[in-house]
């Protein structure tokens, strides 16, 4: 980086250097008046050097940066504390036509100049920003498409799943009509039937709500997070559920794990689902043997892992193949969506959700996530 003006003994070399550089080079005096404006700067901003020289550099900035810039200059001159110098920052620059482009600005102070003079280099970030945005959008689309693909797989299952409560409601209502038309209607029977119908209508609504959550194209909110904190936040919910079911919970968090980039809510959904499944699975086990363990660790560099294991019966051999298939369920009240959605979510985080059985008995589900610094 060019932080000081080279010796001026050969001004033609200097001029060639300035002309050749692809980044904009601008020098200003201590009041912000532009002195030098190279070719690249002309190209980038659309001004001729003559239009800018002698005017304040703030004409090249957006409203916000302009205010900040005046503040930085003042503060630096009063306190000597640099906000940009030697550090650089991303700024929004303004072209002659008023359009704005992202750029990386490096600023150096010209050595020995008094009053101080500054030299600024602007690197155009337009292409990189566009590429980043494109990549982000592509990822969002992929996530959405993968959710829709899951939905496609689920279409048959969905219709079946919704038809169950609808069938129950229709048949029960029709039975009620018949009962009411009979000579001596059993009103108690009708009352119970009405209650069941209401329950089934709610069941249908619940299925639809879950599906809507699945297909809604929500802008996922990725943030850097400590996986241990994410697990701990679920603590109260899980403990209450476990205690109510006579399940002992062990939470074994490896301290100091690297951060992960996740949609916190989504990963917590996955965890809740796994924890619920375990608590359910443990119901069939003898009292005193019901143990649930949540364990976090870094199995290898660039990865963190959360495992949810239990001492339940494990997954039946015939279920293993379609464990993550939508609507494959062994629960009488299950929709069979939980694990399918969970896997979709984890995969959208470039992670993996896997299962293995435990000896002598038990299930272990493992979420693997790439760490924040793992770019692969």
């Amino acid at each position: 980086m060019l932080y000081s003006v080279p010796p001026m003994d050969d001004s033609r070399d200097m001029q060639a250097l300035l002309d050749a550089t692809v980044d904009a080079v601008i020098t200003i005096d201590h009041r912000g008046t532009v002195e030098l404006f190279n070719r690249a700067a002309e190209r980038l901003f659309g001004y001729q050097a003559a239009e800018v020289a002698g005017r304040n550099v703030s004409m090249l900035m957006t409203e916000d940066d302009r205010r900040d810039h005046d503040g930085y200059m003042q503060r630096y001159q009063q306190t000597g504390r640099a906000r940009i110098i030697g550090i650089g920052r991303e700024v929004s620059a303004r072209r002659k036509d008023g359009s704005v482009f992202p750029a990386f600005l490096s600023v150096g102070r010209v050595a020995g100049a008094d009053p101080p003079r500054y030299i600024g280099l602007l690197h155009d970030l337009t292409l990189r920003k566009r590429a980043e945005r494109d990549a982000h959008e592509a990822r969002e689309r992929m996530m959405h498409v993968s959710r829709l693909a899951t939905m496609g797989e689920m279409a048959a299952g969905i219709s079946h799943e919704l038809n169950q409560p609808l069938t129950a409601i229709a048949a029960t209502a029709q039975a009620c009509t018949r009962i009411m038309n009979s000579a001596q209607p059993d009103l108690e029977e009708v009352r119970l039937a009405l209650e069941r119908m209401a329950g089934q209508a709610l069941r249908a609504g619940e299925i639809i709500r879950r599906l809507r959550n699945l297909v809604r194209r929500h802008e996922s909110e990725l943030e850097a997070a400590d996986i241990n904190a994410v697990v701990s936040e679920l603590g109260t919910l899980t403990l209450a559920d476990a205690r109510a079911n006579d399940v002992r919970v062990r939470v074994d968090l490896t301290p100091g794990l690297p951060q992960v980039m996740i949609d916190r809510i989504q990963i917590q959904q996955v965890l809740l689902n796994l924890l619920r499944n375990s608590v359910d699975a443990l119901q069939s086990m003898p009292a005193g043997t019901k143990q649930l363990t949540v364990h976090t660790r870094a199995p290898r560099p660039g990865q963190v892992e959360i495992s949810v294991s239990d001492t339940g019966p494990g997954v039946a051999a015939e279920m293993l193949d379609h464990l993550f298939t939508p609507f494959a369920t062994t629960k009488s009240d299950g929709t069979g969506l939980g694990l399918a959605i969970s896997r979709t979510i984890v995969e959208a985080h470039h992670g993996q959700l896997t299962y293995h059985s435990l000896e002598p008995t038990g299930a272990c589900f493992t979420i693997n996530l790439p760490t924040l610094d793992n770019k692969s």
Partner: protein, 205 residues
Amino acid sequence: MSHPPPTVYIVDDDEAVRSALRLLMKSAGYTTVTFESAQEFLARYNAQQPGCLVLDVRMPGMSGMELQQELNRRGAILPVIFISGHGDIPMAVEAMHSGAFDFLQKPFKDQDLLDRVARALSSDSAARAEKLEVDHIRELLATLTPREHEVLDMVVSGKPNKIMAADLNLSQRTVEVHRARVMEKMHARSLAQLVRMMMTLEGRH
């Protein structure tokens, strides 16, 4: 033979659907027994009991289709009405090919199901009566001697006594005696009745 009331068997893994169908059948005056799985049905079903089966296609464990095939293997004559959560046409075709009585898509109109149940029960009752008759005819046939069998086959195929006597190398008189024994053993009052009995058997193999 006493005639126990026919039963509508309902097999569906969904408790809500089971109890709704039980109530619907009860409101229409039918006796029902419900099962939550195909295995449970197979374990408890008594083939002597007349009725029909309302069977969900899609169930964990043994599916409705597999149950139907198992019933076919066991030679059960119980009519099967399939109910399915998704109108899967190939599946319906396969079920009908395998001898399903009918195929209904969930949810359905009560009358649609009740009509089919009524028809299935009368079909079951007719099939059971026919089966009784066939069993009865087989019992009677088992009492014939080999010679009487030969005479029976010829009588049914319409051969006069004279031809039969020549073919069997017997006297006409002997043929007449055999023929009378066949009619008696088969409890047939006329040649027409004997022919109808044999046709009934053929229809059932």
